[in-house]
Each structure stands twice: as C-alpha cells, then as structure tokens.
C-alpha cells in the first residue's frame, strides 16, 4: 500500500493516494521549532515527527512512501524502506488546505483563529529563511569569490596610491621615480630613507642590487632639482609609503590564501590553469556550481563580456579568450593559434570544473597531459611546411 508524506508548516501529514488524510503528526506551535525541523529536513535530517509517522504507518501495513523531499527519499531507501520523491498533488484534504490554510489550521486545532496561523507562518518563514541564508553563506566558494574581489581591489588601490606617492615625493626628489621602476623598492627607499640628504651608497645597497644604480641614485640625491622639504612634510609621505607597503604585503598573503582555497575547493581546475586563474573563473561565474554548468564556449570567453556582447550586437569578430588569456599557454603562443588553444583549454576546464563541483576523483594530471598532447598537434599543424605555405598564399 502507498502512503503520501507531506511536510507542511504545521507538521507532517500522510495521505492515501486518492487524497484522504491518513494520519498526522503536528509540531509544537512554536515558529522557530517548526523552522528548525523544516531546515533540518532540507539538510537531510528529517524531524522526529516524520520518523514516528513512518513507523506508525508501517505498523499499519503501508510499505511504499511517496515523499516531498529528495533527501528524505534517499535516506529512507538507504534504511531499506521503499520511498520515492514526487511533487504534491492537490486533491481532497490537501486541495482544501492549499486553498485556505488558515481555516484548515483552525479545524485541526493547531490554532484558535486564522490570524494566529498567519502570525505563525510569518515568524516561521523568517526563521527558516534566516537558516537558509546562513547555509548559503557557509559555502566555501563564497569566501573565494570575496577574496578574489578583494585582491583585485587591492591591486587597483595600491596602484593608485603608488602613483600619488610618486607625485608627492617627486616634489622633493623627482629623479628617484625615473631611476626606480619597481614599486616595492621605490616605496622602501622613501619609507626608510626619507630626505635625500640621508641617501648614501651604503644605505642604498640595502635596497638595490645594481652597483651602477646605487651610484646614479647617490649622485642624483646630491644634484636634485626638487624642493627641500621639512621633516614634518616628509613624515606624511613616508607614513603613506609604509601603508602601501603593508597593503602590498597583505596582498601577497591574500593571494596565497586564495591559492590554497582554490586548490582545496577545485583541485582539477587548479591543476589545469593554476589556482589563481581557477579562483578568478569561479569568481566570475559566481560559484563553482555555476561554473560547472557553463558550456566550454562560455568558459572560453569568461571575462571578455564587453567584446562578446559587442560582437553579438554588431556582428564583429568574437573574442577568442577572456580570463584564460592570462595563462601562459594562451598568451605565449603565436596569435594565429591562440583561438584553438583557448578552445581546447576551455573544453578541458569544463570537464575539470564538473568533476570538482560534483565531488569526483582527482585527475588533474591526466587532463593536463591530454591537453598538452592536443596542443602539440596544434603546434605541429601550425609549424608544418604545408601550413606555412598556406599562410603565405593567403
């Protein structure tokens, strides 16, 4: 015999296939408690009331259960109870309930008046929604997405502030800016030495390896055309340089944090393109699951949306690659075969992200090997005499 099980806000209900109410187990009239039970059901932990009802029904001879939760169907099957998942059919008692839940709640004695049921549902839905929001933000890839966004913002901000310091310090000693390109070295010199009269070959050697450069800087510090600034003015600039150095240090540790997380979250994808590009792809897609649902053609151009939509709108040439351009396999190869490489890489990425999203084995090495073999063929095709001739003719 079949029994249909349904979880409603008031409790668990069992019906015969024709819609007649068989049995029920009401929850206590406590919105937070009811929300916890429903939330638990969604996470794969059915409420006590459900299990008690199932036991009762089995005692009465009911063997097959049609339930409204896939998680529940699975765990019942594992426990050896015949169960399937199916959407609820609105007949009989259920039909009346769906049409007027408040009135049915009063009839069942769950509440005294309809307004009370509505107030119960209001608090229940708030508690249940809060529970679901919490579950959603506990997902690891949310952290990854935020981390990547933070990294990109830090890069922008650090760059902006670095330009400002170059201008500002440049009032005092403009020659340094031209001589020292490296941001970190420049900032360290400004922060540690400050006034140009503090510059000396011994001190400079602590920051610069090239002896020639040390010489030039030392000379420039004696002959600078910049203004002489007071200590209290230089202090501001030096403090700011320290701040940016701190930011850049944090940036490095953030990058390594993101790398580790990407390798843990998506080992196959990280093995193919490296953890940072992997993280950027996941961030652009929104989540690992979303990335896994994308066809490889989308992955190929993730990050090139401006060019993509422009080509769709105007019929111009479509972009060959987006974020994946950052991978050396793509940007270091000759322009003519980048499209093929990007396409093949995206194909493997689609496979890798699906394995990662749905909990599979690690086969990053095999994927990489397959890709490299394919790329060999592409390069051979490109370098062959026939191909060169074809290109010359065209």
């Amino acid at each position: 015999m079949d029994a249909r099980l349904l979880h409603l806000p008031m409790g668990v209900f069992a019906f015969k296939p024709d819609g007649t109410l068989l049995a029920k187990s009401l929850y206590p009239m406590d919105p937070e408690g009811a929300a916890a039970r429903i939330g638990g059901l969604e996470s794969g932990y059915p409420p006590e009331e459900t299990m008690a009802l199932i036991r009762e029904l089995r005692g009465k001879g009911y063997k097959n259960f049609i339930v409204d939760s896939e998680a529940l169907a699975r765990s019942l099957k594992k426990a050896g109870i015949k169960a399937t998942y199916a959407k609820a059919e609105a007949q009989g008692w259920l039909q009346s309930f769906f049409e007027n839940p408040g009135r049915m709640a009063v009839e069942l004695g769950f509440v005294e008046k309809e307004g009370d049921y509505h107030a119960f549902v209001h608090r229940l839905s708030i508690a249940l929604t809060r529970f679901r929001i919490k579950k959603a933000s506990e997902r690891k890839d949310s952290l990854l997405v935020q981390g990547v966004a933070a990294l990109e913002e830090i890069d922008r901000v650090a760059n902006l502030l670095l330009s400002r310091i170059r201008e500002w310090y440049g009032l005092h000693f403009p020659e340094v800016g031209k001589l020292i390109e490296n941001p970190e070295t420049y900032l360290k010199i400004v922060a540690n030495l400050g006034h140009r009269k503090e510059f000396s070959p011994e001190k400079l050697r602590g920051f610069i390896s090239s002896e020639a450069r040390v010489e030039e800087l030392n000379k420039a510090s004696k002959e600078s055309i910049g203004a002489d600034l007071a200590e209290e003015d230089l202090v501001q600039i030096r403090k700011m340089a320290e701040v940016v150095l701190g930011l850049m240090g944090f940036r490095d540790s953030l990058e390594s944090y993101i790398s580790h997380m990407a390798e843990e979250l998506a080992p196959n994808t990280s093995a193919l393109v490296g953890p940072i590009i992997c993280a950027k792809l996941i961030a652009k897609a929104g989540s690992l699951e979303k990335l896994s649902r994308m066809p490889s053609s989308t992955i190929q151009v993730l990050g090139a949306e401006k060019a993509l939509f422009r080509s769709l709108r105007t019929g111009a040439r479509p972009p060959k690659h987006g974020i994946i351009f950052q991978h050396p396999l793509v940007h270091q190869s000759p322009k003519a075969i980048r499209g093929k490489i990007a396409r093949n890489l995206a194909g493997k990425l689609a496979i890798a992200s699906r394995i990662d999203a749905y909990g599979g084995v690690y086969m990053g090495e095999k994927l990489r090997e397959d890709l490299e073999k394919r790329l060999e063929d592409i390069k051979k095709g490109y370098g062959s005499a026939k191909a060169r001739e074809r290109r010359r003719g065209a």
Binding site: H118, I133, A136
Partner: protein
C-alpha cells in the same frame, strides 16, 4: 505641504510640496521606519512614505498614468522577485494589515536585507528564499492569492508567471509583469521581445489589459497588466 488621495487608486497618495512638485506616496504600515532611505512625511497624525518611481517599477507604472491598478487594501499578493523590498514594501503598505505579500526571492544577499530590514517589522510580508521557477517548493506556505506581481529579470519571465498563476492565482485574479528586454535577449529588438512575452501570456490564459513603457524611469522596460482566466 499637503497630502491628497490618488484620484483613482486606493492606498496611494500624492504629497504636494510648497514649490508645487508632486510625489507619489503610500501610508506607512510601520510609522517611524523607512526601507530604502525614502522620506517620511506626516499629516494629521498619519505617516506617509515617498515612493520613488526611479527605484520602483510599480511606482513608475503609476506615474506613467496606468488607467486601472488591480491592487487594493486587503489583497493577497504573490511577489516574485522581491529583491531587497523597495517595491514590495509599498505593496505591503497598500494591502495593509489584512492583506498579505508573499515575497519570493532567489538571492540570499538580497533576501538578507528583505528579512532584516523589512519582513521583520511587517507582519503582512512573508519571506520565501526560493527559485520562482519551482512554485511547488513554496506551495505549502502560499495559499491562493488575488494578485501576482512578477519582476524577475529572467529569460522566461512570462512562463514563470504563468506557472505560478496556475498554482496560486484565483480565476479572475490580476497580474503584473515587468519585462526587461535585456534580460531576455540582449541582441533582439526590445519591441519583438515584449511581443513574444505578451504572446506567451495570452496562450496561457491571460487577458492583456494594459502595456506601458516605463521611460524615462527605466530604459527598455515594459509593464504588462493582465487578468487571469477571465
């Protein structure tokens, strides 16, 4: 400054300032509290919330002079795509304490704002964190409603509205569909997109009553007002 009732629509007001400018408003269900930074004005010990048509498509619809607005005190509304509650809060004001607004929203981030800033204080708003494409998932919470307001920016908006109507909307009930051309097909001409969506509604048993473009409040947006299964 004075407050006047709207000529045709219940629960909606005009706030007229000294310099002559008119602003749409609804009576605040939760006096002293605003939702999205909107201005609160008091007259005769009643508090009103100014309704910004640039931030709310329903507000824009009214400013564009829609002839009939099937939304009144006591109505039960299923709101698909409630987001952070900007428009939904005004619907809540209009339907009042005897009405109900079931707010379906897919994004946990928006829903967080909706729950903490809006539903917590309004007993007539029920938050539902679900995908509107699967109405059976919230069937046990939502009963039968008289109005469905749909603003979900998805490619199959009309179909989603129709599926929800089949399950929840009573015969003769009203529906609002905000169509954003860009969400359906970024390359097709907006007018074609609007026609296609309206056609889907007709096929699913809706009688179209009014269609209005929302310019200048929103670009390439159209609002369709329809009656279900008349």
């Amino acid at each position: 400054m004075k407050v006047e009732a709207h000529e045709r629509f219940e629960g909606i007001y005009w706030v007229i300032f000294e310099n002559g400018t008119r602003f749409l408003a609804t009576e605040n269900l939760t006096p002293g509290r605003n939702v999205y930074g909107e201005k609160l004005v008091v007259q005769d010990s009643k508090e009103y919330r100014l309704w910004d048509p640039y931030r709310s498509k329903l507000g824009a619809l009214i400013m564009k002079g829609v002839r009939r607005l099937p939304l009144k005190t006591g109505d039960r509304v299923l709101y698909l795509g409630a987001a952070s509650g900007t428009t939904a809060s005004h619907v809540s004001d209009i339907v009042g304490p005897e009405g109900r607004v079931y707010c379906v929203e897919f994004s946990p981030r928006s829903m967080r704002d909706l729950v903490n800033n809006v539903c917590e204080y309004r007993a007539n708003m029920i938050p539902i964190l679900e995908d509107a494409r699967f109405p059976e998932k919230y069937r046990s919470i939502v009963g039968i409603v008289g109005v469905i307001y749909c603003d979900i920016a998805q490619p199959e908006q009309a179909r989603v509205l129709a599926d929800n109507a089949d399950m929840f909307l009573r015969k003769g009930g009203a529906s609002f569909l905000a169509i954003k051309a860009r969400s359906i097909d970024v390359t097709k001409k907006p007018t074609m997109i609007f026609e296609d969506e309206v056609e889907v509604l007709r096929e699913r048993g809706f009688k179209i009553q009014e269609c209005l473009y929302l310019e200048p409040y929103d670009r390439d947006h159209m609002m369709v007002v329809a009656r279900f299964g008349a």
